[in-house]
């Protein structure tokens, strides 16, 4: 299953290898750049990119494989697996990673893939919801999103989603914490600049869940949000909170057109 991706990126890897990110700024980043939009991949260290380029080296693939296993495992009082309702994930889940967060009428708000997975578990499988950063949830989210790999991010912000999108946007521009910084100060005004030893990226969401070398593990987008909030000494919001789902919707829209890269590898 991983092999087809490997071949596709091998050529790009050969070209990129040996160049520092600075040398390629404004240059050709292939599928990882759409106009001015650049995936976090293009800001990652060359060695980090090399790990992502090789699915057999990408440690996030272990999480994904676990997710694939869980896909056909029966669970809950209904004794059903995901596969019992959705059959082959390669068909039924294709595109999901590109269009989520999506408006979910029963809840009257947009929800992300993690919340949708738990909704299925609770309602359709009568199973206990998974914890947000659990191995199960990260594995399944990786597996589901992987079925959209290389598809352009394309969320719907119209209709009933608009007010939620607007809230996410307001969050992005709102200063917070003892350091009094908004997302935009680092990721819009200063992408491409070094903040101490870190190269600031555009803070795009297309690679999540991601294997982060600093974490020594796979983490969700909301974990990243909590990290970015905490580093400006601001109280983070909860995993799966409305605030973060709205922000996730806004970020996806900012990065629309970038390829779904999940599960990616970052510094």
């Amino acid at each position: 299953m991983h092999v087809k991706i490997l071949i596709g990126t091998a050529a790009a890897t050969a070209v990129l290898a040996g160049f520092s990110s600075a040398a390629l700024t404004g240059g050709e980043w292939g599928k990882y750049q759409v106009g001015d939009l650049r995936s976090g991949y293009t800001y990652a260290a060359p060695e980090t990119r090399a790990i992502q380029d090789d699915d057999f080296e990408n440690p996030a693939m272990l999480a994904l494989d676990y997710g694939a296993e869980l896909w056909s495992m029966k669970d809950g009082d209904a004794n059903k697996s995901c596969a019992d309702c959705h059959n082959d994930a390669e068909d039924s889940m294709k595109g999901v990673g590109a269009r989520y967060p999506a408006f979910y009428e029963p809840w009257d708000k947009p929800i992300n893939v993690e919340l949708r997975i738990n909704e299925c578990r609770e309602n359709n499988m009568k199973a206990k919801p998974w914890k947000y950063e659990s191995r199960e949830m990260l594995g399944m989210t990786s597996y589901v999103k992987y079925q959209s790999r290389d598809m352009p991010v394309n969320v719907d912000i119209g209709g009933p989603s608009t007010p939620f999108f607007q809230k996410g946007k307001a969050f992005y521009y709102e200063r917070r914490g003892q350091l009094d910084l908004a997302c935009k100060h680092c990721h819009e005004d200063n992408s491409g600049n070094m903040i101490r030893a870190n190269l600031l990226s555009q803070g795009q969401s297309n690679g999540f869940p991601t294997y982060r070398l600093k974490w020594q593990g796979v983490g969700s987008l909301h974990r990243r949000f909590r990290g970015c909030n905490s580093q400006v000494r601001s109280t983070p919001f909860g995993y799966g909170s409305d605030e973060y789902v709205n922000l996730e919707l806004y970020l996806a829209w900012r990065g629309r057109g970038l390829p779904v890269e999940s599960p990616s590898v970052r510094n």
């Binding site: 914490g177 009094d180 100060h185 600049n193 903040i195 101490r196 030893a197 601001s234």
Partner: protein, 166 residues
Amino acid sequence: MFSGEREETLRTGRYLIPILGIAGLLAAFALASGDARAEELAKFMVKDGNSIPQSLTGRPGTPENGRKVAIDRKKGNCLACHAMPVPEQPFHGAVGPDLAGVGSRYDAGELRLRIVNPKYANPDTIMPAFYKANGLHRVLKGFEGKSLLSAEEVEDVVAYLVTLKE
């Protein structure tokens, strides 16, 4: 009297004057405080939105300690954003301008304003206010109501920056 809510109006200094109604007395000066609980943070004068001429402690700072505070990640952490003439430290940030020679470009009052609260000079700046403790949003537990640096530390950093001549 100098409450947190009013801090917004203090940004440029000049808006405060009609509020106080003593424009004649203060001329281009505005009285401000880094904290609504003014007993904790010292009051200071902002001149023309560009300078805080007087020492926050009434005394000059110590350049050697200022250099330490500037480097310390838990205090100034200035290297996160600025290159500085501090060759023993690796990884200088490039978010703000190089601070080498900054003591020739600004006088002590202008430097003090840029440490106390650079938003007086540039409301959209990424550089944090190091002497402000109120009017902040969702501050992490344990840091509420606290400024990043004490008045002494601000003065020490100012004293250090003044020594960075071209």
